[in-house]
Symmetry: C2
Subunit: 187 residues, 2 copies
DNA sequence: CGCGCGATTGAGTAATTTCAAATCTAGTGG
DNA sequence: CCACTAGATTTGAAATTACTCAATCGCGCG
């Protein structure tokens, strides 16, 4: 359980046992059931979440209460309403569990402490942040340039396991098409 | 000219004269005319660019040679094909000047040196990267949830000055609609 | 004046959405 | 084992939206 976090960190930086023990002091463990909200639109966002196991969706509800999926996150992904997290303000998004989910919760203070005490953590955050930015750009490009069918196929290719774990209705809300259109792609 | 860069950095971190002088040693100045490519699809990406003055567009050409605009960047923005930059590989995008443009060019090596020698630069990059990620998410949301008209109005509100400086054809390529549709929004 | 570029307009076509109904599936309890 | 339900998926048909292609307009500049 802690090992998942450790090996995730060690994909980017090396940590001694002491260092990792210190890292852990800044995290709180959490467990949620399928259907639970980790946080909701309007909540003050205190944590960024490392997903140890399970699957969540980050969603936005527009004026007409339609649900749009900003991103999915599964094992070894970080998720939060990062804007609200970094500015310690209220969430625009909601984070809901699509499966039972274990998380490690990190407060902004913990985030700062880790960055101060273990400078290599800054490198870690930077890599994650750059990675997130680059993959957002890829998603933007996909929305700008590809047809629903191409987007769907790119999604399946990029995240083969998610094709199994997520309902098509959810995938449609991620791709930005109606579920009916997604359903009709191969008929 | 250098002052633009300095005050940009000092929005986030404080720098002594010595420190800033050192920062400058890692940059190369560059100047481009309207219509010039700073780099093109397929080039090896050696630099990230800080825009001192002017206006550029980061574009992607799809198989059918249609141009899609990933982002605009003007004074005080950083731009590059960051994926290619960080992995020192070939660009997917092209960067073209919409106006005469002055840039400060930073190599990946310079980037690393600055991060090593001036740890606070890591904080600077991190903030920029987080900011880029958050604004990409906003753009994704806009593409997922808003009509062309709403996207156009959001664009004008978010970047009032760009509404003047950029042709509607270009804005359409950024919003992901045809120029004809954009033109018909208010008729 | 006439050229060139961007913006607009028109008409027909293609893609997507919407709403409604039908179908399928997995799990539950009898 | 079967009936029943809830949720997800599929299908149908009409309405809407956006695209494409072509023609026209408007304006600044040599």
């Amino acid at each position: 359980m802690h090992e998942t976090l450790r090996s995730h960190l060690e994909e980017i930086i090396d940590l001694t046992d002491q260092e990792f023990a210190f890292v852990l002091t800044q995290f709180k463990m959490g467990e949620f059931e399928k259907g639970d909200f980790i946080f909701q639109n309007g909540d003050l966002i205190k944590y960024a979440y490392f997903i140890v196991s399970g699957l969540v969706k980050l969603v936005y509800h527009d004026e007409s209460a339609n649900e749009h999926i900003v991103s999915f996150a599964m094992e070894n992904w970080w998720e939060s309403d990062f804007n609200a997290f970094f500015t310690q303000s209220k969430a625009t998004f909601s984070l809901k569990c699509l499966e039972g989910t274990h998380v490690c919760c990190l407060s902004l203070e913990g985030y700062s402490i880790l960055s101060e005490e273990l400078p290599k953590m800054r490198l870690f955050w930077l890599q994650k942040s750059n990675g997130g930015f680059v993959s957002s750009q890829r998603r933007i490009l996909s929305l700008l340039t590809k047809s629903p069918k191409e987007r769907y196929e790119q999604f399946l290719k990029e995240y083969p396991s998610l094709g199994q774990r997520i309902s098509k209705t959810q995938i449609a809300a991620y791709l930005g098409v109606s579920r009916e259109t997604l359903s009709r792609l191969y008929s």
